[in-house]
């Protein structure tokens, strides 16, 4: 790739360090948190959870590259992915059951524990 064009316009951007990856992961974590809090649709809440898990994974792998964590970080990330798959399957099953019973998946409307 020719970097001359990019140097002209984006030359002020700093070299990529560990902090760059961590800040991308902070963005994903914050956005996922925002989605979990504000969304009403249960499936969109699940999407927020996936964003948070991805943020954690980026951190693990970034530290395995830049820190002294070596491959242990990547193995931990594999376990996070495995648990995310299990979580998604279980949560979708629960959401389907909620839909069958209440005919809605708005997490606000499913409040029968209150009464």
């Amino acid at each position: 790739m020719d970097s001359g064009f990019f140097n002209t316009f984006f030359g002020w951007l700093p070299h990529v360090q560990l902090a760059h990856f961590l800040i991308v992961s902070a963005f994903l974590f914050a956005l996922g948190l925002y989605g979990i809090i504000t969304r009403r649709n249960a499936i969109l809440v699940l999407m927020g959870v996936e964003l948070v898990l991805n943020a954690a994974n980026i951190n693990l792998i970034a530290f395995s590259r830049y820190g002294t964590l070596k491959l242990d970080g990547q193995v931990a990330a594999i376990f996070v992915i495995i648990l995310a798959a299990a979580e998604a399957a279980i949560a979708l099953a629960i959401v389907l059951n909620i839909y069958n019973r209440f005919q809605t998946i708005n997490v606000d409307d499913v409040s029968s524990l209150k009464e």
Partner: protein, 167 residues
């Protein structure tokens, strides 16, 4: 500015931008497609971090598995006839404040790591063999526990989602 930096900035932009789409889109399908691009962008970041096996795993499990599962959930829980794909939000202001605080403190902590350089050599080697050996030696107990958890979770999910039989 090197090629590595350019590629990183492009994929970071794709990842964060589509994550914004996931969180702020009114249409649930747009949110799902935003999640697709977020997962691909994260996989590209894994490649930049020399985690090739993790990148392939990310594409296979997240894009091929979890995202399709979420889309199935969307299809099964919305009445497509009545076009009720819009979705509302709540608690916007407190969530915005909390999110800003969390993001600010995380970024502040991360900024302390500014001038770290990679601890390993620049030449990338394939990590699949090493990870496989670690999973079969030092991580064999977590590996087996994870497999049992997956089995139990999938059987439980199939049983829970079955229609009619369970009360």
């Amino acid at each position: 500015m090197e090629t590595f930096d350019i590629i990183f900035y492009i994929f970071a932009l794709i990842t964060v931008g589509s994550a914004f789409l996931v969180v702020f889109s009114k249409n649930i399908f747009y949110a799902a497609f935003g999640l697709l691009f977020t997962f691909f962008g994260v996989a590209a970041l894994y490649v930049l971090l020399h985690a090739d096996f993790l990148a392939v795993t990310q594409v296979l499990i997240y894009v091929g598995g979890i995202l399709v599962l979420l889309l199935f959930g969307v299809m099964l829980t919305n009445k497509v006839i009545s076009v009720d794909m819009k979705t509302g939000t709540l608690n916007t202001v407190p969530a915005l404040i909390l999110t800003a605080v969390v993001f600010g403190s995380l970024s502040g902590v991360y900024y302390a790591t500014w001038s770290r350089t990679p601890s390993t050599a620049v030449t990338a080697v394939s990590t699949s063999k090493a990870i496989g050996e670690m999973l079969m030696t030092s991580y064999v107990l977590p590996f087996e526990v994870a497999s049992v958890i997956l089995l139990v979770a999938l059987v439980g999910a199939a049983l829970t989602a079955r229609r009619g039989k369970n009360p």
